[in-house]
Structure formats: C-alpha cells, structure tokens
Symmetry: C2
C-alpha cells in the first residue's frame, strides 16, 4: 500500500519546488483538463466539467432568486457593431478572433467571435425595450468566450473560457448601481461560503477597470503562493452603452430616456482559484459545496464476504443527502486512497471485515487526514459534521494565509523591501495618479488589485510621489 | 375584455392562411426569439431560453441516468484536423465558418467554428484512451454550433443553434450499436412522454445519413401542416473515426485495437417541433413537462379587497408541485388571458370576488378552453389532473393528425396523385437504389424520412423502377 501511494504521488511536483508546475500537474493528474490540438484551448474533462456544473448550478440559483433570467446571444458579432463603443473595442481588439469566411464565400463584413457580449446585449435591448414598464431587464448568459491570449494556462488564461455574463438595464442610475453592488456581493458570498475562499471586495482603479465601464468592482482572492486572483467583477456603465447603441425607452414623464446598464461575470477561472487556494502536495482539495463526489467509500479486503455489500449499503444510506461514490474497482486500496486524494474528494470512508465486525467504519478528512472511527448508525451525522468542519478549516487556512501575507507600507522603499522577500498583498496609500500606479509596476512589480471598500488610513501621502493620498490601495502580483 | 383579446390575437396570421407566417409570428409574439443584427443568427429570449433549459434539464438527467458525463470541447477546430475524416469534411465544408485571424495577426492555419465535434472528440479520445479498462467513454456536450445556412428560420434552421452532442467509444461494435439504439430510444421517449410529440423511429437511407456515419437512426415527427421534422439522430460510426484519428487501446488480449464510436444529437429545433405540433391560432401550446409556467393565476377585479391575496395564496399552495405565476400586473384580465394563451401556458386560473365568496376558482385548459369550477381545497389535485389530461390530449391530437396524413402507395402515379392533394407521410416500398430515391425527389418532391423499424409489406416492387423492393420507406416533405 505504501508503495502504491508513493507511485501516485511522485508524479506531482511539490508546491515548494515549483508552484506553477504543481498547479499544471494537478490540472492534468486530477483529470480536470487535457490540452487539445488547438493551441491555447483546453478540453474540460468530466471531473473538471462536473465542478464547473456545480458552480453553475449554485450561481444560477442565486441569480434566479434575485429575478435574473437566462438568454442566449449570437456567438458572432459584426465588426461595425463591436466598434460602436470606442473604449470597449479598443480594449478587446488585440485579442479578438475574426471569422472572415462562411462556407466557400468570403464575408462582406468580418465577424468577431464574442470576447464579451456588451455589444450584442445592447443591440438586443435596443430592439426590445420600449417603456419604463419593461424595466429592469435582468439578463444572464452561460457560454464560452474567446480571447486571443499570448500565453495560456488551464483555467487561468486560455483562448476559450467558460463563464456567465450578466447584463442588465435599469430606469435609474441608482438602481443600476445597486445591481452592480448586489452582484458583487453575490460573488463574494458564493466564494466565501461555498468555495471557502476569503475575498477582498473593492473598486478597480481606472487603469484596471473594464474597457468601457464607468466603475468596475472586484473580488480578489489570494492564492497559496501569495499571488492575487481576480475572481469576479461587476461593472457599472452609466448610460454609455445605451447612448452608443441607441437603447431608449419612454419614461414615466413620456420623454425618451436612456437606461442605465451593468454587466458582471465569473468564469471557469474560479476552478483555478479553488486549486491554488486549497490544494496540497497530494493534490486537489475540493470545497464540499462544489465537489462532484463528497464522500468516496473504499472497501478494504473487498474480496472478503460482505465487504462490498456493506460499502454499498453505507452509500445508500448517505446518498439522499450527499454525493457519494463507492470505488469497487479492482485496484489496491492504497492506490485508491491516493487517487481520490489527488482528485480532492473531501471525505473518505474505509470499511473492511474487522470494521464490520465492530459495526463501524473509518472516516478520513482530505484536508488534515484526521481519522475517526464512526459507528454505522452515526455515519450520516458524522459525514455532515466532517464536511462542515472541513469547509470551515479550508476557509480558516486560506484566511490565515492571506493575513500572514498581507503587509502594510508607507514608503516605496518599504514596499520594495517587502517585495524582495515576499509575495502577497501590500496595503499602501495612493494619490490617484496613473503615473504613480505605473511606477509601482515598474519599480516594485506590483499592480493595483483594488481600492478596498474597507479603507484604512495607512498614512497621509502617496508613497511614490509624496502628494496627499486619496485612497488605500491593495497592491499585489496577479495571475 | 373581448376587445382587448381581439387586439392581441389579430396580430397573428391564422394557420390556414399562411402556416409559415403563423410560425414566425408565434416565435416573436410569444417572445421566444428576436432577430439579431447578425444575419441568420437569433437571440433566444428569456421565455424561449426557459423552454430550452427545461429540455436540457430533462435530457441531461436521462443521459446521466445511463452513465453519461458532460465535457466541454474547444469551439474552434484546425482545418487539418477536420480534414482527417474525408466524408465528414466533405459533408460540412460548404457550411463552415472560418476564423482566419487572432487579434491583429493572421493565423497560420485557419480554424473552423465547430459545425459538430466528432473531430475534437476523436482527437481527445486519442489523447486519453489507453486500455480497455477505460472503456466505454460516454461523453456529452451542451453547446452551440455554427453552420452557414443560406436561408434561415428561427429554431428550424439558423446559422447558430443550440444542442447537445453525445460522443461515445466502446470496446466492441455490439456495445456501440446498443448505445446508438439506446440513445435513439431516449430521444423518442422524451419526445413522446414529455413533449407529447409522437415520433416515427427508423434508419436513414445512405443519402440522408450523417456524413461519415455507418448508420444514422432518426426520430421523425409530423407537424400540423403535414411536413416532417427530424427531431433527433443517433449515429453509429464503426471504427471509422478511430482509424482516421488514430484512437487506439490495449485490448484484453494485449493487442492494440480501435474502439467503436457513436454520436447523437438533439437541438433547439425541438422548440420548433413543439410550436408546429401543438400550436393554434391563438398561439403556442406548451407540453406541461417543459412549460416554464405551468399555471398562470389571473386575479379578476384585483382592486377588490382580498382578491390579489387569494391569488397569491393559491399560488403558494401550488408552488411546491407546479411552476406557477400570478399575473398581478395592471393590465386588464382579458389582455392577460390572451397574452398567456399566446405564450402557451397550459392552465389558467381565474379568481374574483364572487369566486372567493363561493370558495372556488375557475380552471381553464389552454388546449380546448375547457373551464371547470374548482373548490379551493381541491385545486392541487385538479391542476395535476388537468395537466395530465392536457398532455394526453396534445399527444392524441398529434397522433390523429399524423394518422390522418399518412398514406400508402404502390405506384409512382399513386404517389404523385397523393402529393398533388396532400402533404404528409407516404409509405412506399424502395429497391434501395439511390437513383430511385432521387427520382422520388425530382418527380414527387419527396425525400426519404426513414426506413421505419416497424416495416409493413406494402407491395413487392419499387414504385419507381419496378425492381424487387428491399424496404418500406416513409417519404415526406421535410423542414
């Protein structure tokens, strides 16, 4: 058994040795993705897609509970339509894939494979919006989008990725702003409660905001290596797109008005966040809420009479409340233990002839390997408690990592000294000038992650230029 | 009220006047789709998408119950990869949309926007398949595909459409054949039970089969106008794609072998089938299993005390078991009746002050307008019974239409005489020659829909050439 286990594990690079390699090892060894024959595109394999499906189900239920409806917009966008809003097209043009022929005929106008769908939604709103009575329109779409990235990594940056994009229009600016805030909070709550990932909520600087947005809000998570991962964004557009795409409605006062718009998105990169927030040198560790399998039952000495039957019986008792799998394949138990650890299944149940004699089984937590003997009749309650405890521990550990790697600095020298030693979040003041933000990148290798909603007065002046500070910014190195 | 109703209804063309116009009227007036600014592409609006979501949920549960797993394959396919299987590329080349640039750079090799994904699945199988122990691989993907159609109609033929494509590989030909049959039966059962659409099951002729398939099986539905709609297909590929894409595994005897492959798909055109099988001059009629709203409650004299409250109370009592909406908007009841009839909601409940006094409400069926007074306490049982009765009636009516429009013919003259008068299914024998199949198209305007599993000996000879007949074919005019 020890040997079997070693054989599984030696295939993964240790986090300490090479975090980036550890990450890609997990992506393939846990069978989440496979590289495809199309450069920069991956295949989401059944286990990876099952995680994405659970994320979708959870978020979709949240969106619907607040009145959002799903729609499907065309995949391809005419260039002229894309160009109507100048900032958006400027931001996305360098990474658009262009369709130039349909069948054997060249197209009169080339079509963009959607990199994001503000243009299509705005164009649709212009067709279907008539009166203030039609507002708000609270739409969402689940789809994949294409952005021609130069260097790619599974989940974090691929030329195609899977996401949802919410697009809403409202009668007033205040309503649209409230929607933007509500959806950011939705993402934050989902990450914290269901993915066990603590997030920092704040506003992006103008440099980092979405092309065409008036304001972009973000949730930023910290990975185990101290780098930041933007995990969801929510944008307020004012009436900019409405004006560009001529979206109007007859208001309560019978005049023609422009609605106020938002968009918000979260993507399959959340799976990257899960891997790098919780994983360890034995593989993935999945938060129970989105784990395709929450409990794996491994019969030990399965050839002995009654063992496999007991495993099936325990599974049947748990199945109504939990996602359970019995691994009755012909592999050795040790091999199975390693494999399901690699795949991050939160709980393992071992049951063998001796356990059966004693009316109990062994329950093992994936995160801390804690084992407990549980009487058969107590199993459902014990599984429930162990999943809760595991989820709480994942969150706590992630929060502790973030706190240990969050620094405060008043001067550029202090900032440089920190970045020379550590990777993490650095809280520092900022005057609001683009030049100082760019200097932080050039001199300290840091980008602004966000201006947190919870501000702290670190000092009075900008560490770069010495002018009066306007905001505390959290700086970091981003994925 | 009568006027209000007229106002809603006069916007739709009657089926008798122009069936094609009636169909497109429903698509837009029932708010299923909206034309987009991209030629040949539509927007699926919330109500249309909600129907599609219910179809997805139902089919997805069926697929998973038989061990299928969802995955996601790249959207774009390199031309060289697409070309590896000659028949497939020949079949699809005329309708492929080509990506030729990524960002500002032209691509070295152009990429096809997937028209179907046999190539990507085969390429992936080649990467991940090793041993017979890995088989079967039972995969499915929900996505949209693009085919550059010349003339388009919502749901029936659009340049982008939404579908699922199942792709499986098996150790033996027999297992792959059984999968092909199982999935066809899955589609047939779904159509008949849940969409209330009777279907004919059979095999396609070589002319009509999927490009690259060894055998294509189909379910064919008949629309109200007598035309046929292919509603789902299941293909058996043998080891053709395995050989073309070098998909191999180590068999039980330790030799390298090619697996046997299937694919099967059903698409958003099922919504077109629903519209044209069940709809009437007042709009859509939705089968309860996939209706986004199964029961709409309309308060009458809603300004009177207690009426809206009672409507909400009835909704609350139904909501655990049914999808219910209370329409408490400020429109007149008659307008609401028409609107929800247009949208095909199976049941309407009317409740006003007088009903409340008598402890009852009015339950109205969408299909036959049958009204019944129901005591409040009996409502859940009455709704359940009415939905079942409506579903059974939809199926019966569709079946009656099909039977009334199914003809039998022994000679080409008989066939021509029928087609001069009627549109429907014509059962006739066939010698198996392509020339005779083409003659049926040229001389009678008919294509072979399928060779039904249930064969009937109409005559001994082919009506076109007079040679011995091999099969009974059902001929028709297809959407």
């Amino acid at each position: 058994m020890a040997n079997d286990k070693k054989k599984m594990v030696e295939a993964i690079t240790a986090q300490e040795v090479d975090f980036a390699q550890w990450y890609t090892d997990i992506c393939t060894k846990a069978e989440l993705v496979e590289y495809s024959s199309v450069k920069g595109f991956v295949v989401l394999r059944p286990y990876g897609y099952a995680i994405w499906e659970n994320i979708q189900k959870n978020l979709d239920a949240r969106f619907k509970a607040t009145g959002h409806e799903n729609v499907a917009m065309p995949l391809l966008i005419p260039e002229s339509l894309l160009k109507k809003e100048g900032e958006l097209v400027e931001g996305f043009a360098p990474e658009v894939a262009w369709v130039t022929a349909g069948g054997s005929e060249p197209l009169e106008e080339r079509l963009a494979v959607r990199p994001t769908s503000e243009t299509m939604f705005s164009d649709h709103f212009a067709h279907v919006l008539h009166s203030y009575r039609d507002l708000p329109m609270l739409y969402n779409q689940w789809c994949s989008v294409v952005r021609w990235e130069k260097s790619t990594r599974p989940f974090l940056r691929t030329r195609e990725f899977w996401w949802q994009e919410g697009h809403t229009i409202h009668e007033t600016a205040a309503e649209a702003e409230a929607e933007t805030a509500q959806q950011l909070e939705c993402y934050a709550d989902f990450c914290e409660r269901d993915l066990c990932i603590p997030v920092l909520k704040g506003r992006k600087t103008d440099k980092e905001k979405f092309a065409g947005a008036e304001a972009t809000y973000t949730i930023e998570a910290m990975m185990k290596d101290g780098k930041a991962l933007q995990s969801g964004t929510s944008h307020y557009f004012g009436d900019k797109f409405s004006r560009a795409y001529d979206v109007t409605f007859t208001g309560r006062d019978n005049t023609l008005q422009y609605p106020f718009q938002t968009s918000w998105g979260a993507s399959s990169r959340l799976i990257g966040a899960i891997i790098m927030t919780h994983g360890d040198d034995d593989g993935l560790i999945l938060p129970p809420a989105i784990a395709p399998i929450q409990v794996v039952i491994v019969p030990v000495a399965a050839h002995k009479p009654g063992v496999t039957e007991k495993a099936q019986e325990l599974a049947a008792a748990l199945r109504g409340d939990f996602r359970v799998k019995v691994d009755d394949s012909d592999k050795a138990p040790g091999w199975k233990f390693s494999q399901w650890e690699m795949k991050g299944v939160p709980l393992r149940i071992e049951v063998g002839p001796r356990d059966i004699e004693q009316g109990q089984c062994v329950l093992v937590r994936r995160d801390n390997r804690e084992k407990q003997f549980v009487k058969f009749e107590d199993l459902p309650a014990a599984v429930s408690a162990a999943l809760d405890a595991l989820a709480a521990a994942l969150y706590e550990n992630a929060k502790n990592n973030r706190e240990a790697r969050t620094y405060t600095a008043k001067t550029l020298d202090e900032i440089k000294a920190i970045t020379a030693e550590h990777t993490g979040f650095i809280k520092a003041m900022w005057c609001g000038d683009l030049a100082c933000e760019e200097a932080m990148k050039e001199q300290a290798g840091l980008s602004s992650r966000c201006m947190p909603f919870e501000q702290e007065p670190i000092s009075d002046v900008c560490p770069v230029c010495g002018k009066p500070a306007k905001k505390m910014v959290v700086w970091g190195v981003a994925y």
